[in-house]
């Protein structure tokens, strides 16, 4: 047997492109958030509420990632927000090269904030740096309070947790206090917002924090 020593990161190619993306965003003064969650947690609804609240404050653009259809980008475009749709054709996550290519299709003039909506999946997107400032993980109360414990990687790699659908707490088996405890056990530095896109509860707090740019250090 002869041995060839390699010692390289398996995802080094993605990490290299992500770093270039990050540099590009920095040069263009664009602040980038990567939204991750399981399917149906309410990422697109949160974006819609955020556009409504901050249309006068921030200049937002969006990259939508979905396995199929451009339904989400149609929703985003109806707010007059510049949007590019990535259809992954089955792939379970976005990769940095997809973001690099999608950004070329966006006119970033005057844009100060870019939301990337990742494919709904709490496992795979956690490995892939896209060049974002940080990840925002969304969990909805209908998913139960044990999600952070089941998907620790994602909660560990995110800086912000948005708990959506708090209006449904009386009807579902979800202990909000326990959900937060579980999340903080995985990542004590998580900044947590509790919101309902249906009633609008908590949206002002999230938007006010977002527009103040008092962001956690990575």
């Amino acid at each position: 047997m002869s041995v060839i020593t390699i010692e390289r990161k398996i995802l080094e190619k993605n990490d290299r492109i992500a770093e270039k993306n990050r540099q590009f965003f920095k040069e263009h003064g664009v602040f980038v958030l990567n939204f991750v969650s399981s399917p149906g947690a309410g990422k697109t609804s949160i974006l819609e509420k955020t556009f409504q609240e901050l249309s006068a404050t921030l200049n937002i653009a969006v990259i939508e990632g979905d396995v199929q259809t451009d339904l989400d980008s149609q929703r985003v475009a109806s707010y007059g927000v510049p949007v590019v749709q990535i259809i992954t054709m089955g792939a379970c996550h976005l990769e940095a090269n997809l973001i690099r290519d999608a950004v070329q299709k966006l006119n970033l003039d005057g844009i100060d904030t870019l939301f990337i909506e990742n494919v709904g999946n709490l496992v795979c997107p956690s490995n892939y740096d896209l060049g974002e400032a940080f990840k925002v993980v969304v969990v909805s109360t209908t998913e139960g309070d044990d999600k952070p414990l089941k998907y620790p990687g994602m909660f560990r790699n995110s800086s912000v947790l948005i708990i959506n659908k708090i209006d449904l707490v009386p009807y579902v088996h979800c202990d909000l206090k326990l959900l937060k405890e579980n999340a903080l056990q995985i990542n004590p530095a998580l900044k947590i917002f509790e919101i309902s896109c249906f009633t609008g509860a908590g949206i002002p707090e999230w938007c006010s924090w977002l527009s103040k740019r008092e962001f956690p250090r990575l």
Partner: protein, 120 residues
């Protein structure tokens, strides 16, 4: 199922690291997978076997070293293995932790079968 994408990344790095003549001799690809990496070793192994079967490296297998999540407390210096995903120092209860290991997703080395050995 991003294990397939990761298996493709591994294959790419191996192909960059050996010559075309060496490809059929690749026996083992040693990799390190952290407990927090979100990668399922069995699934990765399966995906890798599936994609190498289409190449000249049909006999190549993955030798996967799994790495536990280890942390060091920045407040009291205690080093410990994270159990049950509780990211709190068991000694002083601080959450100010430095991650020592657990996020690894690395390719370490490639083992080639010696042609001369085969001939003997």
């Amino acid at each position: 199922m991003h294990e397939l994408a990761i298996a493709q990344n591994i294959l790419e790095i191996v192909q960059q690291s050996v010559t075309e003549e060496q490809e059929p001799d690749v026996k083992w690809v040693r990799i390190r997978v952290g407990q927090l990496s979100g990668v399922v070793p069995d699934s990765l192994d399966f995906c890798f076997s599936a994609i190498v079967s289409e190449t000249r490296m049909q006999q190549a297998g993955l030798a996967i070293e799994q790495v536990p999540t280890v942390s060091r407390c920045r407040d009291c210096g205690h080093q410990f293995q994270i159990e049950d995903m509780v990211f709190v120092c068991p000694s002083c209860k601080s959450a100010n932790l430095e991650m020592i290991s657990g996020k690894e997703l690395e390719i370490l080395e490639i083992e080639l079968e010696d042609k001369r050995d085969n001939a003997l």
